[in-house]
Symmetry: C5
Subunit: 247 residues, 5 copies
């Protein structure tokens, strides 16, 4: 199956970079946050994914066609976004390919950003953010930098596989999870996730514009949110906040 | 899978031709426009697609059987139409085969014509047309010739893959997108797309007969429109006009 | 897939014969007509299809088991019938196998008989018959013999593939299409198709018994008609009479 | 696919035996009859089928696990039963494997027992039994022994394939078909089938206990009947009594 | 398929250990019992399953990611749990892999714990427990130790395959089946299963804490119970208590 997925490189890919993953998921938190990063840091498109496992779609920006799943970067950063929900049956090979390619590019750390749905999101003024990490040392470091740890819980979908394949490849990996709506685009949760990212790394952006453009983003993201929700359902990612059973 | 698709050549295929793609899609704009071109320019059938991935159908014209997906041409033009909606699962291999074959025939440019659905189509007297192109030079050329550029948007289905595979093969590629009904055959949109094509190329036809035969075409195309709509749904091509998220 | 289909020969197969194809389809016209031919001409079973692509069914005649898809023949005739609707996913390999085998037996002509649904069938006293042919010479011959030509239209399913594969193999092929009910067995249409067959070939039978047994056949064929209808739906063969779009 | 099916032998398998097939089917006639035979003749378990094509089920008898599809035997008899409906997609490879194995064991005759549904079963005091056979000699023999012949009809599912593969392998094969309920376990029909078996072979058992235990069997068999019905539906085995069309 | 399943070892795996299997099933009896064992005996995680056949899920415990299907152990014990219902299509390769790996580790005995649904569970104060075993000697041993034998019945799913593959590999295997709710987590049934395990082995834990935490466990296990129920349905594991037919 992996033969039907290619990553086509358009520019020199930075070596030993930090890779930030923001694929469509709960509240589109990771996608909104990472897209904003790309825009604020003026990252340029360095590669894209070409695969028959993704829907037959091309995205137009300024009249020019783009693949929906693209890689942006500068000297020490690679950011992955997709303007299309990854179909549930494709999530394994797509994530595997991204991480294989990341390993080939000697990525130093992987940070995935995402949302954790909370039922009463609308009554929360300031969503909480939690962290998880692939090993105890990283986890201690997060704690030291003031990140609350997500002690018990499930990760499902892109973030789960980002973490799983990172571990298989011995690439240090961090997950940032902001409380968010389940199926409404949540720019505020994205902004808070970015603040947490700034705490633990040198990737720092001013999120004020993101908060200002909140309503506009919510409108533009309505359709991709709807499709993302369908795929989450197929991945059996439920709206409820689940606790693992382990007694 | 590609083994189960063949393009059977009936005549000498022109080399270094312009290829015009008009497969069933939104409002059947591309199909109606390209069929009309074939008829007006007296293009002759030069090849057809033979594949078990397409439905078990034969089309009769003047008592003689034809494959539904056919290639017409003259010395410097190849036109592709299908009198049958391409089933969603077959869209990748079918488009791949068409473009592989086009590359083998040293096609110089690919122009795909199609529709973009607008909600209030019935209240629009003169639909707008937009262009997109595979690179900046082509895009500038379109602008110079007075074509409005489709700045932000999605292309889904045949036109998306026509563009995607052209880029992979370094074949200059243009998309012409006319505002149209989503699921009613739209000969007027087809006529306007043809006018735009005349602006940017030497493929020029008088569209008056197309406009006159509007009602007749709408009736004849009812069934293929219905089936095309089913396949668009399976490709998740929605009726709404979507804006990409990229912040 | 073709490995899972075998044609088992029970008798010597005639060489350079005319092959008549009557598989379950619209109104069971072809099946009823061909079965009647077999019975009137006392053709004997010469081969049958053995395949896991067909349902797990055996037909009993006089207490002895038979495959549902069988070949009958005499010195210069091969007739193909199936007492079971061919499942839509099997239609390609089944028809391919029949025509491959026909080619190996040096079949000279293929004649498929079938129905074309008309909405007001019950108010038609004498259904019309139309012909189509794989090349212009044959078509002219049909016209000369008084056959009306089916100028514009679609063929879907067994008849479409019979025609398609004949063309691929350069075997002259004729389709006889009688106006008929869509989903009621139509012995009258079958009788009229046989009369047309008599016009264009030396295969001539008295159809009076077929017309007399009309009611009995309709009753016996109720179940196979129902199943055939299911498969026609899966092949997207609609009840409406469609006109191709080609402008 | 056949690699994923094994028949595991637990005892020496008799050579040149008669093989009796009683898989779940209409009214569970064959299964009930064959199970009763096994019990009355004290046949011992000699082999079982091990396959991932069958559901993940183990049957407990006296606390010990058994495969659902098992072979019992003595010196000159092999009896096949399954305490689980064979899933429709597995019916081809399962029957193929049983008959391949039977052939390897030089089985002399195959007798399959089953039911044919009659609509008014509840008003029939003494169900009728019919026979069918793989060749004319066998059929004449059945007639001589007083068996009514099933002149026209369909066999669907295990009995059809038992007959089909026997013919392919030149193993003489008989089908015994008792009138029965379609989807209620029918021990009376099973008893009558056994009586018919006694007529044509030396396999003779007293069926009085079977008739006495009727109600108990009906209760125990309720669940397997329900699942068998689901699989019959998937095999398109209808409740109606069909007549083949062949005119 | 087995290539896509790996068991990744994190610690030295004990050789010749007893393997206890507690995968999600009826009432989550096996999972709750085995999880409690792991916690009470302070077993450490020694291996986990890595497979694309399992959903894209990672479980967080104390901020660190874990695979849902994990192996715990000490010097002479291996315990298998999954915090995720095994999808029905994956049950064969997953169980096969677990048992292959167990065989490679020279496992001496396999004990699977599970529930058997009883309709009136809520009116039963003390659920009964039954045993089954892969051979008569083991069964006699169970009886000697005071275990009631499950004389007649079906095992479906993980326990069935645990038993089936153990037999294929000649590994002595025991099933412990406690009466339980079908689709409510049943910690009391788990406690009683553990008491029975203590009778027949040296694996003994005090179940009082398990009973105390009953309500908490039921709440935490709600979601995994719901998903397990879906998979049981797909495995055709019904809520009713079935008796095998074998007459």
């Amino acid at each position: 199956m992996s033969e039907s997925i290619k990553i086509v490189e358009k520019k020199t890919i930075p070596s030993e970079a930090k890779m930030i993953v923001g694929l469509p998921d709960v509240g589109l938190v990771g996608l909104i946050a990472t897209s904003y990063l790309i825009s604020e840091l003026n990252l340029e498109e360095i590669a894209y994914m070409d695969s028959d496992l993704l829907p037959p779609v091309v995205v137009l920006h300024k009249g020019l066609p783009h693949a929906p799943l693209r890689f942006y970067g500068n000297k020490n950063l690679i950011a992955v976004i997709s303007e299309l929900a990854v179909p549930a049956p494709a999530i394994f090979p797509v994530m595997q390919k991204i991480m294989d390619w990341g390993q080939a590019k000697k990525v130093k750390t992987v940070v995935s950003m995402g949302g954790i749905p909370v039922e009463n999101r609308q009554s929360i003024t300031e969503p909480k953010v939690f962290g998880a990490a692939s090993n105890q040392e990283l986890l201690d470091e997060l704690t030291k930098k003031g990140v609350s740890i997500m002690n018990e819980g499930y990760m499902v979908g892109p973030q789960a596989l980002s973490m799983r394949y990172s571990i298989n490849k011995n690439i240090p990996s961090i997950a940032i999870l902001a409380q968010s709506f389940y199926n409404y685009p949540d720019p505020q949760a994205a902004a808070i996730a970015l603040k947490e990212l700034a705490k633990i790394s040198d990737v720092k952006v001013d999120v004020s514009k993101l908060l200002e453009k909140g309503e506009e983003i919510r409108l533009k993201a309505r359709d991709i949110m709807k499709r993302t929700q369908e795929e989450m359902t197929r991945m059996k990612k439920s709206q409820e906040y689940d606790l693992p059973l382990y007694v």
